[in-house]
Structures are given as structure tokens and as C-alpha cells.
């Protein structure tokens, strides 16, 4: 049985909602039930933003999660707010470029990804930390297949400039390789 509850949080502008949408579209492409629920209103315009994505093989009831099994925190305020909510045994993916604090919970699997540093190192500092994180997540935990995520990226960027496709696909690769090669 497949059932993933994924919470993604960060600053408005870090592409938190976009990352969630790519995951949801990829899950839909694979034939799963999916839902995407954002924080909305003023907080998505520069404050803290978050969204919950559920990918499941059964009809989705609650679209928010009290105890997400996967939690991605892109900045420090989100780290402090959401780390306590993660399900015991769950995965906490931390953007360590912006989160200095260490996770004190010992019952979580922590995946540190210095996304902003990776962007500087490999992608001229392009603002694609969200897609780097996505690549890292999928290399560790295949909530969806990488190919589906790539298709979903193209779908979600439809109508945008073409160089954004290539940049995002490259960012996905950077995140994936970072985890896959255990760098």
C-alpha cells in the first residue's frame, strides 16, 4: 500500500508550493490519488509558506496531516515549527545551507542537503533550490519515479521560457547525484 503525507515548508519565494505541485502532478501521472493544499493569503507573499501533498493509492480524506511521514524544511523557522510534527521514523529533509540548527530528535531519519550551496557550486547560484531538494528526496525515497517527476516538471513549467526546463532538469540531477553518490 502506498500512502505518503509530505509537508514542504520555507520562505515565500523558495518555490515551496511549486515543488509540492510537481510532486502531486507526478503522482497523478502514475495513477495515484493526490492532493495539494497550500498555506494561502498574505503568508505566501514573502512570509513563511508551506504545503501538504498526499500521494496515495486510496481515496484521500484529510488533506492536511497532523503527523507527516516526510517533511522538507527549506529555512530555519520552518525547521523549528515542523520538526516536532514529523511522524516517528519519518524522513526530515533539511536545507542545511539555511538551517544551522541540529535536529535533536533521534527517531527521525535526517537527510541534510545544502541546496543553496549546491546551486552556487553547480548552477551559477540559480534559484532552483526547490528542484535540487526534489532530486535529493527522490534519490532517498522514491515517492514517485524520477521520470514522472521530470515529466511533471515539464508540465508545471508549460508556457515558461525553455531554458527553465533545462535548468530545472539539471537541478533535479544535482540533487539526485548529491544523495545517490553520498557526497
Amino acid at each position: 500500500m502506498k500512502h505518503h503525507e509530505i509537508l514542504i515548508a520555507g520562505f515565500g519565494g523558495q518555490g515551496v508550493l511549486f515543488l509540492g505541485r510537481v510532486l502531486a502532478v507526478a503522482g497523478m501521472f502514475e495513477g495515484y490519488e493526490v492532493s495539494w493544499y497550500p498555506s494561502y493569503g498574505p503568508e505566501m507573499r514573502g512570509g513563511t509558506a508551506n504545503c501538504t501533498v498526499i500521494i496515495s493509492d486510496e481515496e484521500i480524506g484529510a488533506t492536511i496531516s497532523d503527523r507527516p511521514g516526510i517533511c522538507i524544511v527549506m529555512n530555519e523557522p520552518s525547521f523549528f515549527r515542523f520538526t516536532p510534527t514529523v511522524q516517528s521514523g519519518g524522513l526530515l529533509l533539511v536545507n542545511t545551507s539555511l538551517v544551522r540548527a541540529k535536529c535533536e530528535r533521534e527517531d527521525l531519519e535526517v537527510l541534510p542537503v545544502p541546496a543553496n550551496d549546491l546551486a552556487k557550486l553547480y548552477l551559477d547560484g540559480a534559484e532552483v533550490t526547490n528542484t535540487i531538494i526534489l532530486g535529493a528526496l527522490l534519490a532517498r525515497c522514491p515517492v514517485v519515479q524520477r521520470e514522472s517527476a521530470e515529466r511533471a516538471l515539464v508540465e508545471c513549467l508549460r508556457g515558461k521560457r525553455e531554458k527553465l526546463y533545462t535548468l530545472n532538469l539539471k537541478a533535479l540531477e544535482v540533487g539526485w547525484e548529491f544523495v545517490a553518490k553520498g557526497a
Partner: protein, 354 residues
């Protein structure tokens, strides 16, 4: 059929266009602005008109004018905006004009906030304006159901010549889920021979919401009541889910209805015998079906994102034969699966009493 991941607000707007709505009048308010945004580009594409009115009061009276011509027309708003529309809705109901109003409700009272809430149940279901009238009220719980009920809303509005309110909330409006847009299919409707379509050779018609003769006005009221009874006989709808012989029956509509579905599933894992009763039509309320479903249960737990509004209708149905319990949050706080389960455990251990 192709599935598209779509936001609730955009899905309701696209469904309206596909249902033949060509006229929209509205005024911005969060959390439903994507409806207006979408229709502002979509309606001109199909030869329709999108118009941002100067206020909700103006918007609902523009709806009145458009509906009087027989056109399919809609407006949308949220809590405070829908409050401003109540005078117009009373007039639409009195003049028996079909239209669709979407309320993506938010925390109240007053300006409240922009988070999801269900505290507009009384306003929608009991008639928020003056006079003895009812709206047909539909409560979708998924984005797909929002699409399907939008189709049905336009059909029911025309069939019964009555305003229909789709009562969603900020969560349903803002969330994305996969949807398919099947072709709306409904039985044929009677011609709108009452519609005012300009000077011609036909008979003189008028669409008004007043009658100065007491007997005339009473006759209109009695006619409306016959219509509401007919609605109860023919159009009630609901969803059930879970154990066929539940110990506790959970009752909730819209967003809470789907949360309760998770509660039923999680409860089953813990050995609990739970079932869900989710009214889809809030008016007409599915009284007979709920009465049947309530037979033999130890208790009913009503959960709402308000402090007990549909609760009153549930209590009227069971008339004290079954204990009715209530769990509610308001102001944008969303009930969680684990707290509802904990409450159910408390009920079964009889730690909580009526």
C-alpha cells in the same frame, strides 16, 4: 478521460463555463479570488461577460437582472461578501430566478479571517435574508465533486427556478486535486417562457419580487413552500461510507466530510466500528436517509468547522432517540483525524456524555 491537477476555485469556474454560464458578476475577496481571475480571461474566450462590480450588493443585483433574461449567471464570494448579498438573494428567491452563488467560506463572524470555516451554514441553509425562502445548498467535499455539483447547481437552478448556493470553504477553494470534466448530462429543462428578452410581439411579462396584495403574497409563499417540499422529495443527496452496522455514526459535510472518511479508515485499524454520513444537499437536508442510518447506533458525532450549526438539523432528525455529540472548531482551525479519533474513544468509554 484526461485528468488535470486543478485548484478548487479554478475548477468551479471552468465547470460553470462548461455548464453554459456566460455571465459573471463579482467583487474580490479571499479565499475565492481565483474564481474571478479565471473567469476574467475564460468568459471572453467563449463570448461571455466578466464584470467586476463596485460591491457585492451591486454584483448580486446584476445577477438578478441577468437571470431575469433567462441567461445562466453566477457570482461568487466568501463570508462577509455573501452577507452583503443577502437582500439580493431574498429578491432572487421571491422572483423565482435561477442563479448560482459560490461561497468559499472563511472564518467569521465579522471580517473574521481568510482561513477555512463552515460557519456560514445557518446563513446558507436557513435563509440569510428576509422572508420565508430557501436556497438550494450543495456541499462538495472534493475538487471533482465541486465540478460535478457546479453542473448540477445550474441544472437545479433552472429546473426549480431557484437560486442555488455552492457552500465550499477556503480549503476546497485553495487545494488542488485531479479532476476530469465530463460533459454535463441532465434531462431536458422546460423553456424559460417567463424570461424577459426585450420588446417583441409576445405577451407582456414582468419579473418582480413584491406583491402588495396580502393574499397574492401569501399565495407566492405557499407556492414556494410546495417547491421546497418537492425538492425534499426529489433532490436530497448524501454519501455514506464505512461499517454497515456502526457503533458511532459520524456526520459532517464538505471538507469535514472528507476528514471523517479518514477517521473511519483509521478507526477501523483500531477495531472501531464507525460510519460516515455526509449530506451533499444541505437544503434539502437528507432527513429520511439520516433517520434510517441513525437506527441502532450508540451515538452520533457531528463534526463541523463551526460551533454547532448543522448539529441542529441532525438533532431535529433524530429527535432525541439517539444521543448526539458535537466536536467543532472555528476561526480557521481544522479538526484533525487524531483528535476526532480520541474523542470517539472517549465516547465509547462513556467518558463523554451528552
Amino acid at each position: 478521460m484526461e485528468k488535470i491537477l486543478m485548484r478548487g476555485n479554478e475548477a468551479v469556474a471552468e465547470a460553470a463555463v462548461r455548464a453554459g454560464c456566460r455571465l459573471y458578476f463579482g467583487y474580490p475577496i479571499t479565499p475565492q479570488n481565483e474564481i474571478s481571475e479565471y473567469l476574467s480571461f475564460r468568459l471572453p474566450q467563449v463570448g461571455g461577460v466578466f464584470l467586476q462590480a463596485e460591491s457585492e450588493v451591486a454584483a448580486i443585483h446584476m445577477v438578478y437582472g441577468a437571470a431575469a433574461t433567462g441567461a445562466r449567471v453566477m457570482t461568487s464570494s466568501s463570508g462577509p461578501g455573501v452577507s452583503l448579498m443577502q437582500e439580493g438573494l431574498s429578491c432572487l428567491a421571491a422572483a423565482e430566478l435561477p442563479c448560482v452563488v459560490v461561497n468559499m467560506s472563511r472564518g467569521g463572524p465579522g471580517v473574521g479571517n481568510i482561513q477555512p470555516a463552515q460557519s456560514d451554514y445557518f446563513q446558507a441553509v436557513k435563509g440569510g435574508g428576509h422572508g420565508d425562502y430557501r436556497l438550494i445548498v450543495l456541499a462538495p467535499s472534493t475538487v471533482q465533486e465541486l465540478v460535478d455539483l457546479t453542473y448540477r447547481a445550474f441544472y437545479l437552478a433552472d429546473k426549480y427556478r431557484n437560486p442555488v448556493e455552492i457552500l465550499g470553504d477556503g480549503m476546497l477553494g485553495q487545494m488542488m486535486e485531479p479532476v476530469t470534466f465530463r460533459e454535463p448530462e441532465f434531462p431536458p429543462l422546460p423553456p424559460k417562457d417567463w424570461a424577459i428578452r426585450g420588446k417583441g410581439s409576445g405577451p407582456r411579462k414582468w419579473v418582480v419580487c413584491l406583491d402588495l396584495d396580502p393574499k397574492g403574497l401569501e399565495a407566492l409563499n405557499l407556492k414556494l413552500q410546495r417547491k421546497y417540499r418537492l425538492l425534499e422529495e426529489q433532490e436530497t443527496d448524501y454519501d455514506t461510507f464505512g461499517d454497515p452496522e456502526p457503533e458511532i455514526l459520524l456526520v459532517g459535510f464538505g471538507t469535514v466530510g472528507r476528514i471523517l472518511k479518514s477517521v473511519v479508515r483509521e478507526g477501523k485499524k483500531e477495531g472501531l466500528k464507525l460510519a460516515l454520513f455526509r449530506p451533499i444537499t444541505l437544503f434539502p437536508f437528507p432527513k429520511a436517509a439520516l433517520f434510517e442510518k441513525a437506527k441502532g447506533v450508540k451515538g452520533i458525532l457531528v463534526v463541523e468547522m463551526n460551533l454547532g450549526q448543522m448539529l441542529e438539523d441532525v438533532e431535529l432528525v433524530v429527535r432525541g432517540k439517539v444521543p448526539v455529540f458535537f466536536l467543532g472548531h472555528t476561526g480557521g482551525v481544522i479538526p484533525t483525524v487524531s483528535e476526532i479519533l480520541e474523542y470517539v474513544h472517549g465516547l465509547l468509554k462513556e467518558e463523554i456524555r451528552v
